[in-house]
Subunit: 355 residues, 4 copies
């Protein structure tokens, strides 16, 4: 066992988020991966199902097991849930009762309000009593609360790409909360490892299309967090698109500054405020990269990393502020961010296993 390490387990380790957790945790300097579950692959080793991990000694011996909460509670101190929404709760409850810390990558505990959950997910929340205990696992915003949390609701991929660029601007009162438009492009891994015709190679390659508009489920957590930042209810426009890349989300945000600017001088003055706002929020953040000069975010610069790139432009012609972000949907948008929470909870360096 690695020195001063925590025993961790992954429930639902055969999906794309689960597989990415496996990758990160096998190499984590302070985590020992003791259990991975998958109904489909129970009994087979990690190396058999994911040949790309076969060179990790642990991958040759660790076998997928059936997901059983009581057994997992004996095997691990921290359990990651990489399950579909609606299913995670049934593991979270017994695992927490048995004393495990739970880091949930599903949407089950992201909303504070069970009624909003029902509105967006179409069924009653399976464990509303836990909603008050969960901490939204966005470390750049909730770092202190995460350190003390027993249940982490790790954010969705789209929400991360929207929230990190917007929250500092809203908190500083630099943009109008009522005029936010988010336009996102996502790689196909965001749809999960599901055997559906829509995600076949031939259906996605040489294709670009919007989907789930105008009311995508992720709006619920996006608006909850934006409202908290703005101090008032926020409703936004959000359009996700599917593009033919494996990984990566590029989000373009159309914003209206609270202060009008009609010329270059006005733009320069406002630009200084925006730059200071982002510098104050993110200059010391290890995983947020605010681009300088003429550079614009590009998913290929962040794929495989836990970094989110952000850049912004003021348009004197329209009076708008355009902000763009790029992240890897499976890392900063899912598993990397969950490991960032693990590091905070366990007192490891926040970047451990993520660089």
């Amino acid at each position: 066992m690695k020195p001063s390490s925590k025993k961790v387990a992954i429930v639902g380790a055969s999906g794309y988020s689960g597989e990415e957790l496996v990758r990160l945790l096998l190499s984590h300097p302070h985590a020992e991966l003791t259990a991975v579950t998958s109904r489909q692959y129970a009994g087979q080793t990690l190396a058999q199902i994911f040949p790309k991990f076969a060179h990790h000694p642990r991958a040759k011996t660790l076998r997928f097991s059936e997901p059983k909460a009581d057994l997992l509670a004996k095997q691990a101190e921290v359990v990651f849930l990489a399950l579909p929404h609606g299913v995670a709760a049934e593991y979270a409850v017994p695992l927490m009762q048995a004393g495990c810390v739970v880091i949930d990558l599903s949407a089950d505990f992201r909303l504070r309000n069970a009624a909003v959950y029902k509105e967006f997910y179409g069924h009653d929340h399976p464990a509303p009593e836990l909603l008050g205990k969960a901490v939204y696992g966005l470390p750049e915003i909730y770092r202190d609360a995460i350190r003390k949390a027993l249940l982490i609701a790790s954010p969705g991929c789209y929400p991360t790409s929207v929230l990190l660029p917007l929250i500092p601007l809203l908190k500083a009162g630099l943009i109008q909360p009522g005029a936010i438009i988010a336009d996102s492009l996502s790689g196909v891994s965001g749809a999960g490892r599901k055997a559906e015709l829509d995600y076949l190679f031939v259906e996605c390659n040489e294709s670009a299309r919007a989907y789930s508009i105008p009311k995508h489920r992720h709006l619920s957590e996006i608006e909850q967090e934006l409202s908290l930042a703005a101090g008032a209810p926020v409703t936004i426009q959000f359009t996700p698109h599917l593009i033919p890349v494996n990984r990566g989300i590029l989000t373009t945000l159309y914003l209206t500054p609270t202060k009008n600017f009609a010329d270059a001088a006005g733009a320069a003055a406002l630009g200084e405020k925006i730059a200071r706002c982002y510098a104050k929020a993110y200059a010391n953040e290890p995983f947020v990269r605010v681009l300088e000069g003429r550079a614009l975010p590009d998913t290929k610069n962040v794929v495989g990393t836990n970094v989110i790139e952000i850049a912004w432009r003021l348009d004197p012609r329209t009076g708008r502020l355009i902000v763009m972000s790029a992240e890897d949907n499976l890392v900063k948008g899912a598993s990397g961010q969950a490991v960032q929470s693990l590091n905070l909870i366990c007192g490891f360096p926040e970047t451990a296993g993520l660089t």
Copy 2:
């Protein structure tokens, strides 16, 4: 020679738009392709440079020539210019003087105002005296004028994807002209066949990125045409993105209706007006497909065709109207649309060679 056909030539036939013109004109039932020019490939046959055309008998004998206006004027009645902006004018002037009809795919004659050209293209217009004679080659909007035109300024790929969904709404007064946002995704062929690092396979594959923001050159013609439709100056927000597909543009438009709607009933009433507006504008258009039911535009459904797909959704949560379009940037966004103009000018069926 085909019965009752016109002799046509292509200047700049080795770029992607030029190649697509070759494809369409080789199979056109009423056009005889008599000359193709390319400095780079002069002396070689079409079949040698584009093996995919080698099964057309004409491709085995037709050789690229140096572009010479006087010679072209003897070879063809209609000349397509598929040249970079700023260069097309030097061929258009002598060709028109020699009696040819010119269909220009560059930006040179799209703007009515030479000052706007200079603002967006960075140099004086090379032939301002022709600006008044050019007809903007968007057949669904300017069909009658195109029939009589001697000089066609065929629209850009992004403008086509933005204008066709917007003009009917603006003309009907259904949307606010001052609150238009256009977010576009383009395939890499839109950048042209240029040997630049930015467009290498490795730089574009597994990448998504915005570029040329906030003031892309195509804004000039987009805003000119929207202003004409609205009857007042219109300034819009436009963000183009590059995604890893060969062909296709997907545009998402964020619009604010002139009439507020806050609930399902209001949305239904407004929705009827929008549906009627589009039906009136496009029900009989052979190349505009307004989608019904739950279908959304997808570039893979239009690639290789001259069709533009349009769909729209009202969002009662935000009060906005979302309109999407999909087209092939090289066909409806360039060469197919140019052939549509050819058909109108020559009195051929408008769909000749395009189905």
Copy 3:
């Protein structure tokens, strides 16, 4: 109804080969598509399921139906079967009894010997009495027999790419029949429209892999036809690979000439014979393109067409002959070739609907 046209139907019109048949037959000048079947989509129109065909008037009215042989026999004179192997036979028998001509795109009738079928497909042949009546639908080899056939066994995609380059060489005795190696790369549409994890975008993109080695099912028909050409039993090596393109097969053949050549002079002499052999076989074939000069086959030059490209090189260092071919697996490798057979059977021009 089009003048002098045949009524045709497609059983299994929702797979990739079926969809491609729809595309070709909707535009065919002498075919009237009267029925398309699909259990999954029964009751819906072609336009609803395949929006890309929505601009064909027929696509708006023609609805998928349940596949019923007796009904189909009344609706069509020629019926295409685009079904999985083992299923086609149950439609072929009653359709033929009812007087229809059947063009089967499955493997069911490609083998003359039911024992070989069982060896490669793992079950008894469902209608061995029909094997003697079927004609292997490779028009360049069996044109006359196809003209008179009542049952066409249209060749597989890999077999077409291997057989057309090899048969002339074998018939001319120019290569050793016992030393043939075929290495093929296929686009993902070759796997069919199946909801399986292996063919998800994320599993195929940025991936290259061999599969089904060393005994792929297509070997059975390849070796049958090569043996007929050589006049003696032929066994070959065949390795298929999956690469991330939608369409296209590129096959590289490693061959040993019957006549040794050890230097440039020997290669030149042999090269003349090979060139003459291919010219004799294919100079007048509308869909075979033997490349000249330095050009090599490239799938992007044939995608969407019924053309197969062939090129060859002699290697004086090794004494081997390398032959390459490129085709669209869904057109010349499936549906285009089937339409070519239709044209021959009905006395239409062989290229009707295919250019």
Copy 4:
């Protein structure tokens, strides 16, 4: 400075191999990257040119410089040359004279015979006196010699994918040296970061094609090393193909065993010998993964790693042995392998910076 680390420099750090060296050396636990050269980018920081490295503190301060051997000799103890062939020699000579160890990723020092170099590369070797001093940097074969080397000729990407599967078989006398065929598929990064039309996204996407046949330059080093393994001159057939992936080489080898086998029993006996041969050669190699069971190599399982996957199949129908390998052309095929040599030379753990 990291404890017990070596100062290293990269000449030609802006190409794809150079960029990959930057990635590996920035994170290497025992290497300090002190200089990176690029004529094109001199004066700019690593972070400016490669935003994806911007989160490494070193990338913000380290600037590209003009390549000057005398200066580099003062900055680094080990210098990597990631330059085009023919150019590396002019840096290698002065750097070695100044006492640096040189690890060259070009082809300049891979051949022992200057005449073979001239035959394949078309010009006289620029520094034939160094050919005797260079060690071919394939650690699995030349580990001891690499440890003592002052000049490493790091192997090409294709050669690595061909040599590692073949050398154990040849040394063990299990295959006929005169009947080797290697068929390779390569990602586009193998062509280098060159602004050429052939490597544009649109020219490579949805395309598969062979090139440089039948006498690719890499044949010279492949045959040199195979001849050494076989103890006699070996000439092979080699066909490289370009496929639309960023990274990865998949090689399929067609081999004839020295011992005939005509049935399952013979295959089983020979199979045991092959398995033992590979186990003896590679069971303890950290970067060679011989696959078991039904798994076949897939480039997506090795991309980003220094691992080469190998699998083999005996075909009783043909008597042949098929061996496949998969590697990342930029890692095990170039920069990772070069770092492996660095580790051996410096006495670091062989896997340092590579896991």
